[in-house]
Symmetry: C2
Subunit: 259 residues, 2 copies
DNA sequence: CGCAGTATTGAAATTTCTCAAGCCGAGTGG
DNA sequence: CCACTCGGCTTGAGAAATTTCAATACTGCG
């Protein structure tokens, strides 16, 4: 389970790649990103990175593994909010919202790069184009949260589960870390129930239904897609909300000062 | 119902006030905001401002009334995502996410100021402090979405409704547009059901329960708080997620170039 | 081998939804 | 001034879905 720590240079390139998914950056922008300092940290399964109520002073970039965000309810129960894969930055918001309103933990053995808030803030102040990229990233996050509201409020159990799987596979695919027709999804049925707002029994029956229809299989933390088209239909999945395309060319030009 | 259009100068001051809730701005920042051009538009109840799938070229600031964001499902059903009051900017994300993944409509006769994307982008590129304020605003939005996930997934019907009411009243209060113990909430029971992920019958029973316990009353589009403490308890409401306090002093200083 | 955590299954208890009908209040037109 | 209508609210009751409870497998690992 213990793998070699990722090379720092690799992390820098991953971060730049992520930023470039959200904006067209100049060489100077990239250089500025490269200069941002960070430290690598390994996480064990279930380990928390930050907890609800804390005031972190650094933001997280995932170089390997998978993290989750969750609310802790008054009765101690958990509500999972989102899942994040290598290349994601689940915690940019902590830069601007001092007190954490949720926790972040590792779903599997993972490795993260921790960027000091101060350094990031300076980077964003000096390089509007970079700020723009990371801002956009937080906006896509918000779009994913919106979709989760709809998913947990308006879909029946099998569709709900199917939608979650569509989203995770699609994002893993886009990030280039999915196998041909499968990806990691290290959640047991109890965690799925705490994600989808239903009991673990209902999750189990929903899963059975999707398996019976040969749409997917999910076991041992691996999601196997059996019939993508069928799954998309069952889920009512429309990836528009993931906003894979970049910002408009106009905005990009303005941000690069070519007004 | 048709009131005088808000004075443009008033809108400018409202916008600055909103920005200052999220960051400490310089006089130059404020001047730059003041120079942003916009046009006023009146909206009738139920009128859409933008629809899912469209590519708007301006962002909305609410000068009077109340707007909602919602998803339209494949079967034509609606899922409400959030509600916005005077002083809110529900649509900043459209600046960076070209295609709307949801619609925005008026819940009552309202008035909005529409800011051109191009002008806003230039403003943000030139004034990092201003960008910071609006970025933070979108992050609070995201925190509210997260809370909605939890609300609709993990709370029983009366708590769910109570939580929505707590949030709306608290925000109206903060915005200074609530009466002593009441505020607007122009939603009928069907709309509430499309917000909270339950049938309108269940909404009705939940409402009865809260009325019976003398916690609140909700009728004719007005929310009346009868027992704030009791309501907060019933809802499990903790306003931390609304992030009413500003960003840290350090970030503010960096953004003002005092590094 | 046995433990612990997870998955699976059945069945009862409970909640929520659907359906159906009546009511109420505001606005309308005769 | 009074039926009339329309939208929204209220209520009851049966149907359906979900949760809870309980018990039994399964699996990886020490």
């Amino acid at each position: 389970m213990t793998e070699e720590p990722t090379d720092k240079e690799t992390v820098r390139e991953m971060l730049i790649a992520k930023a470039e998914q959200h904006a067209t950056l100049t060489a100077a922008d990239n250089d500025a990103i490269r200069k941002a300092t960070f430290r690598i940290r390994s996480l064990a399964t279930e380990e928390d990175v930050v907890r609800q109520g804390e005031r972190p002073d650094s933001a997280v970039f995932i170089s390997r593994g998978m993290l989750a965000r969750y609310h802790t309810l008054p009765d101690g129960d958990r509500q999972y909010l989102s899942f994040h894969i290598a290349g994601d930055m689940p915690d940019v918001q902590s830069l601007f919202l001092k007190v954490m309103d949720h926790s972040v933990s590792a779903l599997m053995a993972s490795e993260i790069a921790m960027f000091d808030h101060r350094g990031l803030t300076q980077l964003f102040a000096r390089r509007p184009g970079v700020a723009f990229a990371f801002w956009r990233l937080t906006l896509v996050d918000a779009a994913i949260f919106r979709q989760a509201i709809t998913n947990n409020s308006a879909r029946d159990p099998p569709s709900r589960l199917a939608h979650l799987c569509c989203e995770q596979f699609y994002r893993a695919r886009e990030a280039g870390i999915a196998a041909e027709m499968s990806c990691d999804l290290p959640l047991n049925q109890t965690q799925l129930s705490q994600t989808l707002g239903m009991s673990h029994i209902t999750v189990h029956r929903a899963l059975q239904s999707l398996r019976r229809d040969r749409l997917l299989d999910l076991r041992g933390g691996k999601l196997q897609i059996l019939d993508w088209g069928g799954l998309v239909t069952r889920a009512g999945f429309d990836p528009t909300y993931l906003h894979i395309a970049k910002e408009s060319a106009i905005s990009a030009r303005i941000f690069r000062g070519q007004r």
